[in-house]
Each structure stands twice: as structure tokens, then as C-alpha cells.
Symmetry: C2
Subunit: 456 residues, 2 copies
């Protein structure tokens, strides 16, 4: 498989680079290392020990190493270590060479009080651009945008536009989209390099630009930004403020990172664990997972103390205890399903408009239907198995009620969390199933008690 073969190559390349470093072969190292694609440079660098990395800092210019770090910035775990082992001036120069959004991402990995030091050591213009972006709130459009874009004026020709493009091709993060602004810096049009290339050189930008620009607001949630980019199949999105002033652009490589980030956090939320848990150390893994386990353990204690109220009933009819896990388990499964659907629907921008009560009603009905089918099934099975259709009726009816309540909770709880401003994805599957254990047990034993005292 592509990936395997490529992993294999990286290992070979790393060995080769290590040898060149050990033999202090500056010339061959530079030729070999710089010939690799940036991502592979990053992988090799990551595989090296600190000693070799320090050697690299003396073999490569800040400019050369900055290209590699444009890719490496995604590897948040180690950025701090890398930056702090560098000479501060060298690090500052490297950050200065990087695209603003990536430089900001990296600086944010450092202790807050360290950041000013690097900004001071940095080229003034770069430092200014970084200061402009670094204050935007995390996970907003502003925090992932870059200010290195190409802007044009409506009253210039394609020829002059192409001249600007060529001059900016090196520093701009993308030259494939250019943005037309007026004298107030407001965004008035967009133009792709494709449009420029196929147009006559004397045509005015005004005449070929599209003035229906799809934009995102600087405060928009990054998830919504990703949604727009994916819907429109754009390679970059312009970011504006409330006065339609162009502040920066978000390029598709950052969009892909956001999509990955969002997907991972949804997935993690559903399982109540950080699935990007990179550690192979069981102690650290356990440390990350225990908070949820212990919290839910105490929620589970609630269920236990509830059951202990029915100890008398159980010692009379021990058979009841046979079906507790069946009811709690099935209701938990139904609740998890409805939770996952609800979290996804909430995450979709269209839902913003849609009223939640409709969603809840639907889950309620879905629960009733699933509950009815499951309840009748289990009623028959138990009735036949235990030759006792009253027992079957108890289990079946409890199942129906428990599933309905679980479905309701599965949609209600994330919606409430969303309304209260929490991330709905925090309402995890384990939380819902532990919660529905409580309700299911309550339902089951109340119904059982009622039946037994009235029909037996």
C-alpha cells in the first residue's frame, strides 16, 4: 500500500540523513535533505534526536527550515520542545519567514510570557502581522486565517494584475485566488488565477471579476467555515469584518486540518475519550480516561442506591434481576443512537434555523416505535422462555418505556448543552447510557412492583 511503502522510505531517508550528520557532511546533507518534499523533511526531522536537530539548525538557514515548519506546525505535541531548543534569534527569524497563520499556531504552543520575546526579535513587519491575528479567539475564522493574500484593484488591467501576482507569488500563501478591494479595503470582487490566465491582458479586472463573493466573518466558528469551503469546493475563503473589510484568507490546507480536528473531537466526545491519545504509556492513557470513568461511576452509584430500594422485591422475585442488564443495556444502546444523530444534526448549520422541538418530537416518536418493536419481541421471547407471560409483559412494557425515555434523553441532553453554550459532543455515549441506566431501572422496578402487587 502507498502508505506502507512511504513509511518505509522515510525510515531509509532518516538513516541516510543521520549518517550525513554524523560525518558532518554539510554539503551532501543540504543537497539530500532539501531535495525531499517538505512533509518528508518534517518526518525525518521528527525522527531525529535532539543532538542531530541542533546540528540541523546550524546547517540550514531560518528561511530553509521555515518551509519545513509550515507542515510541522500541525504536530502540536512537540512544537514547544523544538522552539525552545533553538537559539531564540534563529527561532524568531524562522517564525518571521513563515505564513502568519502557521507562525501564530506555533507561538501559541509556547508559554504566554515567552511570546513577546520572539516578537521583539522578529522583523517588525512580520511581528505586526502576527500581533494582528494572535488575539483572535481559538476555533474562529480569525484564528486560522492568514494575511498573506494577493489583493487587486478593480480599475487595473489583467497585465498589471499578473505582474503583481508574479512579484507576490513567493510570499503569498495562495496565488490561485485574488481578491479585489476598494480604497476602503472593502472586498468587492474575487478572481481566480484561472480567470486571469484565460483573459486578454488589456481587459480590466472590473470586467472579469465576480462580485458575488462568498465570505466568512472573522468571528465565525471554524467548523462552519469548513462547511462553507466544502460546500462551495473553494481553495480559499476570504475573511471579512462586519464592515465587509477584507482581513485575510483561509486556505484549503487549513480547512482540511479543521475538518480533521472537528471529526476527531466529535468522535472523542461520543466515546468519552481523547482518541488522538498518542501515548503508548498505559499510565498516561489511564490518567486520561479515568476522570470520565470515575465521574460516571458515581452517577452509576445512583442507579445502585435506587435498586437497593427494591432489594425486598428482588429477594421475593429474584427472577426480576435476570432482566435488569437487558433493559438497561438495550435502552442505553437506543440512547446512544439518538445521541449521535442529535449531535450531528446540531452540528449542521442548517439546524440553526430549524426548531429543536421538532427534533425532540421526532426522537420521542422514533423511541416509541423502536420501543414497541423491541418490547413486543422481548415479551414473546421471555414469555416463552420462562413460560410466564405476565413476566414477559413486565419486561416488554418496561423495555418500551425505557427505550422511549433513553431516546428522549439522547436528543434532549445535547440540545440543552448546546443551548447552555457547552459543546453538545461532550454528552458522550457512556454518559447517556449511564444516565439511562438510572431511568431504566426506575421504570423497570416501578412497573414490576405494580404488576406483581396487582396481578399476582
Amino acid at each position: 500500500m502507498q502508505e506502507q511503502q512511504y513509511e518505509f522510505e522515510i525510515d531509509l531517508e532518516t538513516e541516510r540523513i543521520e549518517q550525513l550528520l554524523q560525518s558532518n557532511n554539510l554539503v551532501d546533507f543540504r543537497e539530500e535533505f532539501l531535495s525531499y518534499p517538505l512533509y518528508e523533511q518534517a518526518q525525518i526531522y521528527r525522527n531525529l534526536n535532539e543532538e542531530s536537530r541542533l546540528q540541523i539548525y546550524s546547517y540550514l538557514s531560518p528561511q530553509e527550515i521555515s518551509n519545513m515548519f509550515e507542515i510541522l506546525e500541525e504536530d502540536i505535541e512537540s512544537i514547544e520542545e523544538y522552539l525552545l531548543e533553538m537559539n531564540k534569534q534563529y527561532a524568531a527569524d524562522m517564525l518571521g519567514e513563515m505564513y502568519t497563520d502557521n507562525a501564530v499556531d506555533m507561538l501559541q504552543q509556547l508559554p504566554t510570557d515567552e511570546i513577546p520575546t520572539y516578537l521583539r526579535l522578529m522583523d517588525a513587519k512580520q511581528a505586526k502581522q502576527i500581533r494582528e491575528i494572535i488575539h483572535y479567539e481559538d476555533e474562529t475564522a480569525g484564528s486560522i486565517m492568514t494575511t498573506e493574500y494577493v489583493s487587486l484593484k478593480a480599475n487595473q488591467t489583467v497585465r498589471s494584475a499578473m505582474a503583481i501576482l508574479k512579484s507576490m507569488a513567493k510570499e503569498a500563501e495562495t496565488i490561485y485566488y485574488t481578491y479585489v478591494i476598494n480604497t476602503e479595503g472593502q472586498l468587492v470582487g474575487v478572481l481566480s488565477l484561472r480567470d486571469l490566465i484565460i483573459s486578454n491582458e488589456d481587459v480590466m479586472i472590473r470586467d472579469i471579476m465576480s462580485d458575488r463573493v462568498v465570505t466568512v466573518n472573522v468571528d465565525d466558528d471554524q467548523a462552519d467555515v469548513a462547511h462553507v469551503a466544502r460546500d462551495y469546493d473553494f481553495l480559499a475563503l476570504p475573511v471579512i469584518d462586519e464592515n465587509n473589510v477584507l482581513l485575510g484568507i483561509i486556505t484549503v490546507d487549513d480547512i482540511m486540518d479543521v475538518m480533521h480536528e472537528e471529526a476527531t473531537s466529535d468522535y472523542s466526545g461520543l466515546a468519552a475519550v481523547d482518541v488522538d491519545e498518542v501515548t503508548n504509556n498505559p499510565f498516561e492513557a489511564a490518567k486520561k480516561r479515568l476522570p470520565w470513568l470515575i465521574t460516571l461511576l458515581f452517577l452509576g452509584m445512583g442507579t445502585s442506591s435506587l435498586i437497593s430500594n427494591y432489594e425486598g422485591l428482588i429477594s421475593e422475585a429474584a427472577i426480576l434481576s435476570v432482566f435488569v442488564t437487558l433493559i438497561t443495556g438495550t435502552a442505553g444502546n437506543a440512547g446512544t443512537q439518538s445521541l449521535a444523530v442529535a449531535v450531528r444534526k446540531i452540528g449542521q448549520p442548517e439546524t440553526e434555523k430549524r426548531n429543536f422541538s421538532a427534533m425532540i418530537l421526532q426522537e420521542l416518536l422514533t423511541g416509541l416505535i423502536s420501543g414497541l418493536v423491541t418490547g413486543i419481541t422481548i415479551m414473546i421471547v421471555v414469555g416463552i422462555w420462562k413460560g410466564n407471560f405476565i413476566l414477559g409483559a413486565i419486561i416488554g412494557f418496561s423495555m418500551l418505556m425505557a427505550i422511549t425515555v433513553a431516546n428522549l434523553a439522547g436528543s434532549l441532553i445535547p440540545i440543552l448543552m448546546d443551548r447552555l453554550g457547552f459543546d453538545p459532543a461532550v454528552a458522550s455515549g457512556p454518559f447517556i447510557s449511564t444516565f439511562s441506566d438510572l431511568t431504566s431501572v426506575l421504570i423497570y422496578f416501578s412497573i414490576a412492583q405494580y404488576f406483581l402487587s396487582n396481578f399476582l
Copy 2:
């Protein structure tokens, strides 16, 4: 929020378009409709009823409507309806105008026996390109690639390359990357439009192309392709066969769709429900969820019949039944956590190399540690609550064992499924927790019986 406001615009635009159609105002309709961004055209079209859509087919040429369908193809639910309501020749012409990969996606929504009809009605060259791609297996690189790319020769100048680019700018899916092939059609280099633009017009392609091309194989899994694209921050990836012959390219807009698809299927798998469930009809929703619920119900019956073997024990010590759900619930939560981590790790290409036994051992240890902490906690709590530390010990020890086993199952089961060629994501959280109900109950009652017969 951006999305809201934009949703709002779509509604207004739809109304305007409906009016223009009702007043049979061909000219204004064309001017208005075609002035919208393609995604908005698609949204409006989607909001219209069949009658209005039929009218649109008579107002817009196949070429004009094809642009909109380049975006609409992602909306798989309705494609078949749209295609079948069109005149067959019109539909064939439209498909012929589309990028091959999108045309293939759309054709694949039709009943298989319908496809040849459209291919026959289509322009021969287009039909040939589609036939080349349509046979690639679903979810492989081949199935998402397009054949509309720009290829150059190493021994031509930048000037002639730019001429080719301009001539192909309209039909190529991207002109921002160009691929250099030799006379055997093998891929020998890659070149970005950025490189071309900043180079002197007389330079030879050979001298500015990069000959270290990152490629994917036509049979690679689409998830791995997305991984490569995201890692390298590429806007397009070349697809080759085993002889390094260039077959097509995959553009970043398709990569984003794959990322979304993969994330959704992982998420759905974990919750044992299709979260893209678009229906608002409770019956359909229940129909989609019930198969899992019922399957797991019968797995849960296993747990019940297991418990019924211990009815005697329970009627003696009803207190035991108080903690069943606590142990099964907590173990289920731990199992879900370890499942999610395992599925994610399996999904990462790097894991291919890494041996799974290490992963399983790690989960075993993680389980032991979490189990130890949770077990001791609950032992103390129960000991104090019930003033009975033997009971506490029974619960605590059972908890330790149950969590360890659940963690083991959480990693072992998806790994086995992967080894057996199934999608590991199918081992859902509900499945793992239902499964661990069984093992937990077995552990709990065996331990309880042992303790009670030996210490009381």
C-alpha cells in the same frame, strides 16, 4: 452567523427564481440564476418542485446545468430522481459536459442496466473516459480520480506549457498542478502553476519540474489518499498504476468529501446508527436503527440467561443485584473508550507497520490500571455505604476484572475484524458494551459465589 444569513439568502433567491419561472420570463431567469455561485444555484434547484425543475431543463443548456451538477453530485439521495426526470439525451449531454469523476458518481446512482443507455447517447470521447473510470472499485483512489488533468513534456519550454494551460484551462479540473509524463505515459515530474508563472518563458520544463512526485496508487484506499493529501497540503494528487503510468488526478474538493464521508462512517459505526440519517420520519428512522437494537437484544439475552443461572445465589443475597448495573455499566464505558482509541489507531496508516500485539498489551495494561483505581474507589465507597467490606471487596475485585476484560475486548475485537477484512468501525460502542455486559456478569457472579462460599 455566516451560515444563517446565507440560508436566509437562499430562501429569498429561491422565491425570486420561482416567480421568474411562473411568469415564464426566460431572459431574466437566465440572467438571475446564472449570476449565482454554483453552490447557490444547486441549493435553489434543490428547493424547487419537479414542475419548475422541468422548466429549468428547457431554459438552460446541458452545458449550463452541468456546472451546477458538479456541485450537486454530492447530494446522492436525489440524483436518480433528477436524472430520470430529464430527457435522456439532455441528461447524457449534461453528463458528457461534466468532469469524469463527477459524471461517474452520478451514473452510479442509477440502476446498473440504465447506465449503458446514457453512455450510448453521450459524445464518444466522454463515454470512453467514463468507461475507463467507472469500473474502479468503490472507495479506491481510482473511483474518485478524474482524467481531466494537464500533462506536459519535459522537453518543452514554459512558454509552450503556458499556451497548453490556457487552451485547457476550461476543461481541466485543475490547472494549478501540471504533470510531466514521458513517451510511455509514465509520470516523471510535477509542476505547480506558481512555478510556471515565476519562471522565465524560455526555461525548459525539465529544469523547473520537481522529479520527486508524491503519488497514490489507483487501488489505494480513499481514506489513505485523503491522509496523504492532508499531510502534504497538496491541492491535487496524481494517481498511477503499478508501472508508474499516470491514470488521473484527485483534486482537493474530492479529498474533502472523502474526509467527511470517512468521519461520518466512523462516527456512525461507534454509535451503531447512520448519523447521516436525513429522514424526519420516525418510522424510517426506527427502521434504520432497529436491526442493531434487535441484534444486540439477543446478545443481551445471553447475559440474562447467564444471570438466571445465579437466581439461587441472588435470592440468598439480593444485595448482589444492587451492583450488577454498576459493574456492567462501568466496564461498558471503559470498553467503549478502548474501542474508540483502537479503531482510530487502526485507521492510521502508520499502524499498518506497527504490530497489533503491542496495541493489545497496552490496552490490557491501561485496563488493569483504570480497573485498579476504579475498583479500589468502589470498594471503599461500598464498604462504607453498606458497612460491609467483604461486599466491597467483591464489587471492587469484580470491577477490576470486568474493566480489564472490557478494555481487552475493546481493542481485540476491532483488530480481529480488521484482520478478517471487515471494517473495524462496525464494532460499535453499543456492541462492545453489550458484549462486556456478558463478561462482566460472568466475572461478577463467579467472584461473588466464590467469596460468599469461602468467607461467609
